[in-house]
Amino acid sequence: MMDSKITFGQKTKTESSMQPTPVNKKLPIKSDGFANLAEALDYAAAGDSGFNFYDHRGQLDAVLSYRQLRDEARTLARRLLGLGLKHGDRVGIIAETDPMFHRFFFACQYAGLIPFALPAGIQMGAHTAYVGQIRRMLESCDAAIAVAPASHTEFLHEAVADMDLVMAGTPEEFDALPEADIEFQTVQAGDLAYLQYTSGSTRFPRGVEIDQATVLENLRAIAQDGLKLNNEDRFVSWLPYYHDMGLIGFILVPLICQLSADYLPSRTFAMRPRLWLKIISDNRGTVSSSPTFGYALCAKRLRPSDYERYDLSSWRAACVGAEQVNPIPLRAFAEALAPCNFDPNAFVACYGMAECVLAVSFAPLDLGLSVDYVDQAVMSGSGEAKPVNPDHNNVAAYVDCGQVLPGFEFCIRDEQGNEVSERQCGEIMLRGPSVMSGYFRDEESSRAVLSDDGWLDTGDIGYRVGDNLFITARSKDVIIIKGRNIWPNDMEVVAQRVEGVRLGGVAAFSVAGFGEEELAVMVVETKERENSARHRLSQGITELMHEHFGINVIIDLVRPGTLPRTSSGKLSRFQSREAYLERQPAPALRLPSHRRNNRKTA
């Protein structure tokens, strides 16, 4: 069974003999009582379970048991320490779906270093933008080390040219280093376990800092209270490791419970989403998560022959999070996959964010989505979520994201900071043992969201019914397109590279699209009247938006002075959006009006 080995990231297949790691039959599940992540791995290493990596055709490509991972990570930790690194030095890992990520992440855990995941997905034509992004992240936390799989070495070397790193290279180069003959220092509860770059601002990357005690508490809560994990559970994921749901949800949660996990590369999912279902079906996966768009993408690509091929009856927790939970595409997914025994009650709506490690709330298991239908007109008027019949003519639907995990306190406040009553929209504030200590070396950003008495301003808008949370808008300052968080300010700054685009003469925001998706819009002031010049301008911005953000943007050219400004002369994105919507011929693009009322002016 386990004779297939991967040695230091080189996947040596013994062809047909390679088998994925089994579910955890051997070890009693233990999800708390660990002093740090390294100790959790030491415990898991006594079992047979581990991580399995599938390739672009959905074939098992590499197997990494917890035992192998522990051994290899400890060896690698001694090699890293041999470089003279200090306790707490930062290690950037380009997070391709590859065993090397796990090895370096856990080598850092033993060595007392702080790992962080660097994005691995590169957009078409985006060479320069990608290199710049990697460089800014490495710079922002003053990284000592950076490592990239062979596929990304060229980009990494370009990014670190003339940077003063201790070492940057491939896993093989690190594996060739001598091992230092030193004992590991015990990693303390207050030592940082990792940094998590929020997928947003590319210009000013912010690294959420999470210490050992904080991550262990959230993992325990997810395992025991959120998902109620047991020995039969098996994780399947295509989520990238550089997103919190991929890293925490599908590397650290299985680890903390000694469970096996199966991975499909994110790009493979984007090309062949049905392989996700195949792996769940073949391996009897029980837990797998995605933002809403992943379910929608998968449903869109189903073929009639799939119905006989897949059996999804084992999938007991199909978590939905990371962006607003939209019940309509999820229902379509469940209906399409009913012939494959997909259980609609397996849907679990979740709410969370990297600033709280990963998870804040889970809807109850085995009940599916619970949808609250409210009067949209009332909501847009007073912010009250007034229940109505689903067939009401002006209805908005929100999904119950359940109660916050034990340990969290939450509170919904109005803009003056007063707590609002039940069914009243406001800003969601959180406090508890899984909240970050701040953004790494960024006092200003940390103070902007964390109060002295420990409340985190999530930036999200929602209401409560009893103790259950309903999210009506994610991150007031962020545009979320297909799971990707994009700061409007970043888009505006990038757009100004196009000749003719003026600083302060451009506003980016999102509006609800025709279907279920949000659309990004950019209003650009220009004096140009000539058609070909206007076309060049639009095309230039479109290209940059693709290169930097991988998204489509609706470009709206307007005359100078059109964009609304506040009394202090600052451009108002909020009013720009209102004005844009008014310019549109009805009923083209309509933003749900409650969001307009509840979102702050940026």
Binding site: G125, F155, R267, A270, T542, H546, N552
Partner: protein, 90 residues
Amino acid sequence: MNTRIHEIEQRIKLLLASYLESSNHPELEAHGEITGETNLVSDFTMDSFQVMEFMMELEEAFDVMIDMNSLSNTHTVHDLAVIVDKDLSG
């Protein structure tokens, strides 16, 4: 131009037109003829997931495996033809 690259390019043009048509991209008509210099992302509003979907169609049509990282320097239909040609030769 190398005949094989030219043939690949012709085929990519047809595949792209049929992809855009099947996914109801409104720009197809407005854009007119797809040429070797057609820019895959800025001439059509294809987002990153649609780009990946089209790559899958190319992989299946040519029976190649496209090196995704090489796409970072790819902009046009011709650039793409060069990548496919390279894989067919390798």
